[in-house]
Amino acid sequence: MKKTSILVSIVLVLTFVLAACAPQATPEPTQPPVEETEEVEEPAEPEETEEVEEPAEPEETEEVEEAPAFEGVTVQFWHVYSDEPGEGLQALVDEFNETNEYGIFVEALNQGNYGDVEDKVNAGIQSGDLPDVVMAYTNALADWYSVGSVADMNPYINDPEYGLTEDQLNDLYPHLKAAGSTPDGAWIAYPMTQSANVLVYNFTWAEELGFAEPPATAAELEEVICAAAADNATKGADFEGTGGLVYYPSSTNWLHFLYAFGGDELNEDRTAYDFSTQEAIDTSMYILDLKEKGCIWQTESYPNPEQAQRKALITMSSTAGLPYYEAAFADEGNEDEWGFIAAPGPDGTLAVNAFQQMLGVIPSTEDVEMASWLFVKWLTSPEIQARWVRISGYYGTQVSTEALLADYAEENPVWATGVQLAAIGPSEPQTFPAWSSVRRTINDMAAELYNATDQAAVEGILATLTETANELVEEVQ
């Protein structure tokens, strides 16, 4: 009896093992194989012969016109929008499904936040369950491209029939092609909209302090925030140590100032990371100097309430944080005029740290990839983009979109202050190898830079940062 039980157990285990080792079932395609269906529906050979014999070209033309180019192709689109923006995006997708001339059907699915989408795509790369179009940050798309899971859109963008015209390409803000392209020229991320890390500026208070215009240079920025700090020093204990610029030493904020100081992350020939530049040193020393003078400070939490209470003349935030500032000002009953400005450099260079909500196409059949591109093209066309901007509050990516939003800008004056800023960029080099890891290292180093004692210490930290960043590149290559 005992032996029989053991035998049965072994047989069961073997069955499971063999079942597990069986060839994996082919992943179900996300969309039906269109060509195959057409083949099945095609009539038998004799008819083809007839077609050859007949000079029936008009009939053939009619057939081509009747069947849309991508009839039956379904494109699955993973995005990150829920609630009202999600509903707005779904309405646009529904419109595309009803009106597109190609017969493409798009299935839009909210997959949580950007982190969730990354997790799902990472898992999907292993299992084969991937969408056709995915919304993600550029660095994630670059990582997936490096393992062959994101397509180069160049062939589709440059397609004579379905691609973009020269005018349409020139309509894109200049920094965006580079922002979505890898160093080897593959265009892997197409911008749906933009947001940017900006300076949130209280125009009314600055005017009261004697500054009619926003700061145009780093020196003017120092002057205005130090004046605000001095002003608050006279307001009592509750305002002590407040007034200037709220600055958190993060990679986003440090890079923002680095761009204004004319620097960037790469060496001159764009082949490696280089943070030991004079611009990087000047940026770090400028921030240290502001700290020593008591013109910058930090809040415990989001600085929105402090700005609304006039405890901060300037804070640094994403333009997407606009609703939170509006709520804070409304809550304080503060009717000051405020808006977004760029960080000014020593020579008057203005910069923000621009981010794009990127769309990537996942490799599939040629038809599905082209259908995916056609959807991306439609969704980012100026008219549709302008409608999406009204829903989402982000910024457009093309000059033509701006023109379509004149009335929206008038109704939303704070949003309007950011329109030009999103256009100037620049953006982080998210497609450069190991950027995600390098960015995390910059985050750590930014805190060290903020606490550096002198220039020698700053130079040491930046040298270490350069070395670490390039080691990270070696690890992934």
Partner: protein
């Protein structure tokens, strides 16, 4: 007669055991207060305006109870509540059935390799749950392809992987092993087999650990987020925690609505906790378990 007491006499007003109790209660009171502060903060923030919630005030200047209605609407709780309820019931039922049977086998049936298999199973508890995520995802994807029921975006992927809980098996096994052999011998004389002994003798004596498993499993399943997001593509089977994500975007979160939503989501947990707490205490008393 002088009724006044000197300071020395006063110090002897409380006996040593009373003084110990006072100290104990003070420590417990402080601990309870520290534990409850986040809970109070959640409730307080849930009735603040957004501007106020973004600041560092603890008490709202004005009560915004409408936040609860807005949170319910925007988080689509009507749909997600039902999903969470179904997922939790299915998971819990499966976990109880499999854990009880497995634990009984490990505790009371002598089969070859029993201790080895149990040790291997226990050792998997040392591996962080995140490590299992991708293998589990690949497994459920594969199972979805070879079976007639779709697993992804359906209840099997959300429930079946959690029906085999090593912790529950371990806990029940330890408890089942304490049941005296004499009880089994008696049951056997009365004609009972393993299953009848388990159902009619062991389980009634094991209400305490079963209640603990119910509470822990309920909380774990109810609050799960990462796995459901991974294995669902549409809201059809997404649980309640996904609704809370609607208040978070890349620039921050509507913290007042998040807290209102969070309070709504924990209500079932509080209810089940209070119910099972009573059962739990009674079960311990009835089974005569002591430390």
């Amino acid at each position: 007669m002088d009724n006044r007491q000197s300071p020395k006499q006063k110090s002897h007003l409380f006996s040593v055991s009373t003084r110990r109790k006072i100290v104990t209660y003070i420590i417990l009171g402080v601990g309870a207060f520290i534990s409850l502060v986040p809970f109070f903060w959640m409730i307080s923030t849930s009735v603040m305006s957004l501007g106020e919630a973004l600041g560092s005030t603890f008490f709202p200047s004005e009560l915004h109870f409408e936040n609860y209605a807005e949170a319910w609407r925007r988080a689509q709780f009507s749909e997600y509540f039902l999903n969470s309820f179904l997922i939790t019931i299915i998971t819990l039922s499966g976990e109880l059935v499999f854990s009880i049977l497995a634990a009984y086998a490990f505790a009371r049936i002598d089969f070859p390799g029993r201790n080895f298999i149990f040790t291997v199973m226990l050792s998997t508890m040392m591996i962080p749950a995140m490590v299992f995520t991708i293998p589990n995802f690949l497994t459920v994807t594969w199972l979805g392809r070879i079976t007639s029921i779709p697993w992804i975006n359906n209840w099997p992927a959300l429930t079946i992987p959690f029906m085999g809980s090593i912790f529950s098996i371990f806990m029940l096994r330890q408890f089942f092993a304490q049941v005296p052999d004499e009880l089994y011998d008696s049951a056997q004389i009365d004609g009972a087999g393993h299953l009848r002994f388990l159902l009619q003798v062991v389980l009634p004596l094991s209400k305490a650990p079963v209640m603990v498993i119910i509470v822990l499993s309920f909380i774990g399943t109810w609050n799960s987020l990462a796995w459901p997001m991974l294995v669902t593509n549409t809201p059809d089977w997404r649980p309640i925690s996904v609704g809370l994500m609607n208040f978070v975007n890349e620039a921050g979160q509507e913290i007042n609505l998040t807290m209102a939503g969070a309070f709504i989501t924990i209500v079932p947990i509080l209810i089940i906790y209070f119910f099972t707490q009573k059962q739990f205490t009674e079960s311990i008393a009835r089974s005569g378990l002591k430390g």
